[in-house]
Symmetry: C2
DNA sequence: TTTTAGCACTCTCGCATAAAGAGTGCTAAA
DNA sequence: TTTAGCACTCTTTATGCGAGAGTGCTAAAA
């Protein structure tokens, strides 16, 4: 563990580097942060901190910048906790006031708020509907052979699928089948609706034997679609180009094309996130090379204590962690409230 | 009008500039394109072309680059028409094979194909549902006071809205109201469903007088929502950073943040597009300053001769117009077919 | 009259050199 | 243990210079 003075110096260096993106020298520390020791002493301490792996030097005669280990120590022990200012408060509060009617809207809105307030890229994953319960399923006829299968969950998400209707079914058949499906499936968690459950329905409705297989298979398929609706809401990626980290076009391009690879993002966020806490993955802590120079901050959002999705922020490792934490915390807090008031 | 030789030279310069992004000198023209005259003569012609406004010079001792007027002339008169190669053909054909079940999917897919093949940003606007016909409307109860209103058009688009259901309505009331709405509204174009039409329904169903107003207002509102579903599908904007035009981060940032301003994009595309032709708006031909350095190529896509939306490409003014035209033409051609086979 | 060769001129780009500035590490004194 | 002093390193910025590319003009050739 570092002693008091080293921590003070490390903290000052990281704060300054986050603010300026320039390597920090001993003189700067002595001048700006009044620790009461001379640059020479600070230099010695800095050499120690470098040897311990918390700092590094871009070249011999430059100042120091934090290493990933340095950021990690900062986030875990040094980072000041921070209150939201009035502006941030008011923007976040509006989230709850918007009174969105559907979950997706709300989630998208939350993403926009996060990217607006932090200037980093907001990523939201979800809603993950495995643990949601089926509220309603209905088949409506549109044409002779074409129908609409509608699946509503208790989280107020609706998904619809255009399906083919077997020839010989009348409207009242469809209604009866819908009713039967509802009475046996409504209230069940999506993840619990397995092939077995489906089979037991078949036994109850032997009258429709010939067509039911077909419809149940369709329903199963559509439920799967609904479940794995792992949508990625990304917002504010163009703002990232304002950071000096992306002054190099090649880097900017890499970042932007990474943002278009939703599978990589989903994997990285899921790996990073422990839903109940706010977690940070700093640079090379992330196992995939695409994220080496980036940090990911994530936390889960919930409904009825079930993890519904992940709120995340992707930015350069030189990130204003303190600000990001405070904002992300508050936004998910409000998002949780907004979601439960939606149901 | 330009004489034969000037056109040859202008054409050579623009072709070369589109390929290399470097100013072209008289020697290059003489060497690469065998027009059979010496650099000195070409120089004279180039000076003329500059005076006429078709070319410009970045600085005194540089080669020439095309002006907007030059590009315009090129697109209107000089541009070679071009056949698609096998690769392009096969990618586009897959569009039709995909057999998407819904219009939105299809449109999104078309956007991806365009951006993949051109490397420019694809923008698709639509579907515009004003002229679509209502195929089905239904209200389903989800809870005591909560229901789902579903609107299906003859273009197979589905939109749903969670609504509040007046207390005193039974399920069979809902069904009866749904039926009544269907029989009086189904088959009508969305744009023809006006307040007057709604009022005449009220007359037919005086029994529900007290709640009907409320539901009809909701329906009206939701129909409006459905109509103005002016979604922007943008795809491939990160690829644009590969072009030397965006080697400057500031420009790249401007471009990317423009791509996030969907209202500006909608306005620009709508202004630019004459649905029945493929149209180009080059640089400052676009009235809004944000697009000064960009060109927009657009064309409409249709269903049953009704304009359903706009397919467009946004790229630097130094765009491979010939390639873009051929691809855009073919994609909308296939898109039109795919849409009509969807119905 | 049109085309071309020749040539002086202009401007950019790359490169080397130099000076300035920032910061370090080491040594020796406080 | 801390600090002042100093030599040293490395980057950044400015400057100058030559090479290269391209032009416009003039005068000769076709």
């Amino acid at each position: 563990m570092l002693d008091e003075r080293k921590m003070k110096i490390l903290s000052a260096i990281i704060d300054d580097y986050i603010a300026t993106a320039e390597p920090i020298g001993s003189r700067t520390i002595a001048r700006k942060y009044h620790i009461g020791i001379s640059p020479a002493t600070i230099r010695n301490e800095m050499a120690d901190l470098e040897e311990l792996g918390y700092l590094s030097q871009p070249h011999t005669s430059a100042g120091r910048i934090p290493s990933n280990k340095g950021y990690r120590f900062y986030v875990d022990f040094l980072m000041p906790s921070r209150k939201l200012d009035d502006y941030e408060q008011s923007i976040i509060k509006r989230l709850l006031k918007k009174r969105a009617k559907e979950l997706e809207e709300l989630i998208e809105e939350a993403g926009k708020v996060i990217s607006k307030l932090t200037s980093y890229t907001a990523i939201i994953l979800g809603p993950q509907l495995e643990s949601s319960r089926l509220k309603h399923v209905q088949i409506i006829r549109l044409e002779e052979k074409k129908g609409l299968m509608i699946i509503v969950t208790n989280y107020s998400t609706v998904s619809h699928h255009i399906i083919e209707i077997p020839q010989n079914l009348t409207d009242s058949d469809l209604q009866r089948i819908s009713n039967a499906l509802n009475s046996s499936l409504a209230g069940k968690a999506l993840e619990d609706i397995t092939q077995d459950v489906m089979n037991s329905i078949k036994d109850d409705m032997i009258e429709y034997d010939n067509v039911l297989n077909f419809l149940l298979d369709l329903l199963m398929e559509n439920l799967d679609d609904t479940k794995e609706n792992n949508r990625v809401y990304a917002s504010g990626s163009s703002k990232m180009l304002e950071f000096p980290e992306f002054r190099d076009v090649e880097r900017a391009r890499n970042f932007l094309s990474l943002m278009e690879k939703h599978d990589l993002i989903i994997r990285a966020l899921k790996t990073s996130c422990k839903p109940n806490n706010i977690t940070v993955t700093i640079g090379s802590e992330n196992p995939w090379s695409e994220f080496q120079e980036l940090s990911i901050v994530t936390t889960g959002f919930f409904v009825e204590d079930k993890n519904l999705g992940i709120c995340g922020i992707i930015g350069p490792t030189r990130m204003e962690y303190s600000r990001v934490f405070s904002i992300l915390e508050k936004v998910t807090d409000y998002l949780n409230k907004a979601i439960s008031s939606l149901l």
